[in-house]
Subunit: 239 residues, 6 copies
């Protein structure tokens, strides 16, 4: 089996992160991974959800949306259906948890950072691109707040990036694109820190199962990809 | 009163239309009017709404969305609220009607063309930019279907573009940007054809009224702007 | 082409406004325009929406509903569908804007005047009848509040009425009834003040377009009709 | 304790039933009981709900709505809330069951008769007035269908009317108006046929209880009131 | 006609009430009536609904749910449908009213007691079992609060239980099970106190009517059943 | 740190699976893991979702609900909120995927097996108990269909069970109960087959991260627990 564009099994698609993509958000990027394109932004609101009021801590929350025209077959707009799908809800929660894992929320003050991830084009790996891009948008927002004297230090404890890995016909591969996704026997999303630790692992067999040995290979591939993504984030952020 | 960037009262912002902005839709553009940016796409579905089934006619329908990060203060996601606002609903209906006015729907066959207008950045005039951009996306889609032999001719009877005009401190001006919008006493959206006829006029006094003489001035400004937009559409489409 | 009951092209249907139609509202009328019948009421609430709290200004808001039995074919109840249609939402917003244009909202105090327009019978022109009738209900409510010493003067700056005009087979006509509405090539709703200025113009071509000359004829017809309506409002209100 | 207008404890308010109140429905009345006014209509639809398809039987279903301006304090519109209240749902089901009890549904053919009860003014007893008025609207609709040859006989087995009874300060009274309703210790709605049999009894103690003897007195009062209502229905219908 | 298991017409199914069925609620029982099984719980919340705030009174409210697997044919989950059916809404209101009729709400303090009735198995009479079981759960909760010193006395004025009665083929019977329910011509739910007074009577003819004599027989049967249920409640509660 | 009841770090709570807990479902169990109690049922419906119609394959789908009284603080009913939470949606999808991984869906015929998991008491590990219990309910349903001749063989390819593991204060432990859950730094749910392969791994760091070495320890603990659960399933099913 050959991958599209003769990609190696452990080779990621070209990733670009364009900072300052939008003018209103406090932090904003467009992240491209191959043909996948996600617009990620961070906007501060001067209040926290009810469960945190008066507790002296901030909050980071994320929303995700697949735009109708981002997919091969048009995706029905969730606003028109009047509710968010289970898939969207899962992804939103995953992005939020991943970012909160590295943010020092008490150091933010009683504020919410809203992360919005709108998928302009979906060619596989939108949720992991959203996490990788959102981290940069969040960092840019905090940098701006520090420059404005709103906070004293950037309340971020480590870098975060995410990648998908999977198994097709018995072969573990890194960074699945859409056409590969649909053939994969196993699909796994991994979120890791700059330090090489895990924040999330979500592995799912699709109509089959996977062994411990296969799991080990997938985690190794993911680790390699995430190191490359974090190197790119550092270049963009100049840190 | 001086306009931002010393624009003349009858001068539009710079407009750019980038065709082929997305890879999946049948037709797709990014339209920029100053800092306003709307992604417009057209995607065909091989069926029509129930009221048209078996009648041998096609249909064109539009959806519009202000992305949360597109506005100065974050806009709550309609999918999260579980319903579409009155404003969104009005705009969607306006875009759909404007396009249907120039499409020969029986010549489309029993198909629906879905138009999606997603606002990436909102600096005034998003609904009129959406109409102007959508027309190009729609035309590109029909051109593709003609090339593929799905339809015999491009079922479009005339060009369509739209612009906003308004009155600030008694002065009629063309193409309001966001900062002007909020000060306007009168706000009017005009949709016209290449032939110079009207499709829609929606004029609203905001806390004041307007005279017949003012109306005439506004319509003249709108006519001038729309001619420029249609000239640009023709250049982009090479017709 | 002949109009029903041999009406002239510039002739309105007989309009009746019955004040005091309901006992609980602060102001209430039944307005009849031919067979169209709309029950309009105004009820005060001693609070304002969140965006106005503490700003010393009042608010006027309107709701509109087509009762299921008001139309030739039964209209599904929006409460049963669980949401308001785009059409209803547009009309509600139009009624509210039209009335707010002539109300001195700071002079109301921090109160909301709720306008309800329930269509008992729909034979064309329900939204314009709703505006014309609601103005009388609103005026009656303010008159009552003045008599009760709640406000010092009636905070109304001018009269407001509305009418529909349209083009059928190339002929501009005034005040379309239902059977005409469905054949009209152009449909326009005009809201004007007692002073002859415009508050709203909403003109829509239905499957065709309209020229500047046609627009001028339509506005002239509308002006004539609105003058007659405002004369009637004055008679009813005794002012 | 004296009742408003010195009504006797076993005396109903004046009831008026105005047939043909609306022009579109197949059957239509306005029923007034004192200041309570309910517009009742019956409209045929040429299909039945899924559970009856192909079974050769018709269906009768009812919807009920308290218009916002019908109550002393404005009632929030259920369409705006996006759902029907428990109270509305109960009343709709009660009206539907009461009418179905006397309709020969197989004789209707596979059709649905939609009953709409819109309360224009609510001064107590709206649900019972809705039942009493709807029966007349339904009968008028069937009469029209018979005249049109759609059905051969009027598929109605008996008359139906309803009334409320209650206990205030230990005294059983007939036909409570709004001011009495709020003081009642027991509130009971009774639906009976022309033959004097029961279709529904719904009695509720409000913060107290009621004895068997009190129940007997309430049922006697209800029987008296319903006889009078059915006599009025017969006069109106000329049967 | 013979009843299942040769039950006599005035004979109830075996009823069991198992207190302490769940560990978290303040009061909890499983009630079984034949194969009907309802889990009833009472949980205190330290606040009251808005309409009672600051009035020094408590509140009792109930929710009811038929679990999907509790019925012969699977019942669609209301959470999945996104709304509560009319039937559920009616039953919830009935349970709440029945309990509030015997609770001294001012003596509760400003607290809400939430009653949850989840039907694990539905073989007829679930709403009446829910009332009978909930009363025990409520009493157990109040007993616990008294032991904890939260309240001084158990704020309960009388016992409450409920039973269904009905008429099949002209014969009045007590405590209908599911197979009987579907054949019943009349279905009546009766809620009574330990003192023998009524709280609610809800009798419905299903496609027929019932006479006064039949009503009397039904009420007698219900009285007999409720006495037995209250005796069982007393045994369980040891009072 | 000591675990409640001095449980060893690799020791599961006592698990009980009670088959035939409900009378209507095709397969039904109550599963208890310590104080966690989940009622699991399997009910057949003779149709498949639209995307499978005419494809000759069956479907397995699951719904999950936390009953309001199952948690220490009452959980608001999702039917009352009008929507399913993100957490519920995630769990429902996880249960469905886990079961479908071992079912031979073409061998089921065009039928849907509905799995319902209703949590009667929640003391940690409800989703993994739901998977473990549902597998038994599903197996019992298929066994019944085989006995009835509806299917020829039991279309199940392997056993499935699930368990949670986590890290508290640096110590990996098996089968977290509620009090441990809230203190856990890492929380992982693992779904495995009888053969020792993985179906799902979902590991989440809560406010911290976890290393590769910790991951290995967690997977070992999970494997041990799942073997014990599958042994119990085999005993219950007698296979």
């Amino acid at each position: 089996m050959e991958r599209p564009q003769n990609r190696g099994n452990d080779q990621m698609r070209t990733v670009r992160i364009i900072p300052g993509f939008q003018k209103y958000p406090d932090g904003s990027v467009l992240i491209e991974a191959g043909d996948t394109r996600v617009m990620c932004s961070a906007m501060m609101e001067e209040k926290v959800p009810p469960f945190l009021r008066g507790k002296g801590s901030g909050w980071v929350t994320a929303e995700y949306s697949l735009l109708p025209s981002s997919t091969e077959t048009r995706t029905q707009r969730e606003a028109s259906k009047g509710k968010i799908s289970g898939r969207t809800s899962e992804i939103q929660r995953l992005i939020g948890r991943s970012l909160r894992a590295v943010v020092d929320m008490p150091a933010m003050g009683e504020r919410t950072l809203w992360i919005d991830c709108d998928v302009l084009q979906a060619d596989g790996g939108t949720r992991t691109a959203a996490i990788t891009g959102s981290f940069v948008a969040l960092y840019l927002a905090f940098k701006k707040f520090k420059e404005q004297g709103i906070i004293e230090t950037i309340p971020v404890k480590d870098f975060v990036a995410a990648i998908s890995v999977g198994i097709i016909d018995g072969t573990p591969i890194l960074d699945l694109e859409y056409i590969e996704d649909s053939q994969a026997d196993v699909d796994m999303n991994v979120v890791m820190t700059g330090n090489g630790d895990f924040i999330e692992i979500q592995g799912t067999a699709e109509g089959t199962v996977f062994s411990r040995a296969e799991l080990d290979q997938l985690l190794e591939l993911a680790g390699k990809g995430i190191q490359e993504l974090i190197a790119l984030q550092k270049t963009i952020l100049g840190v």
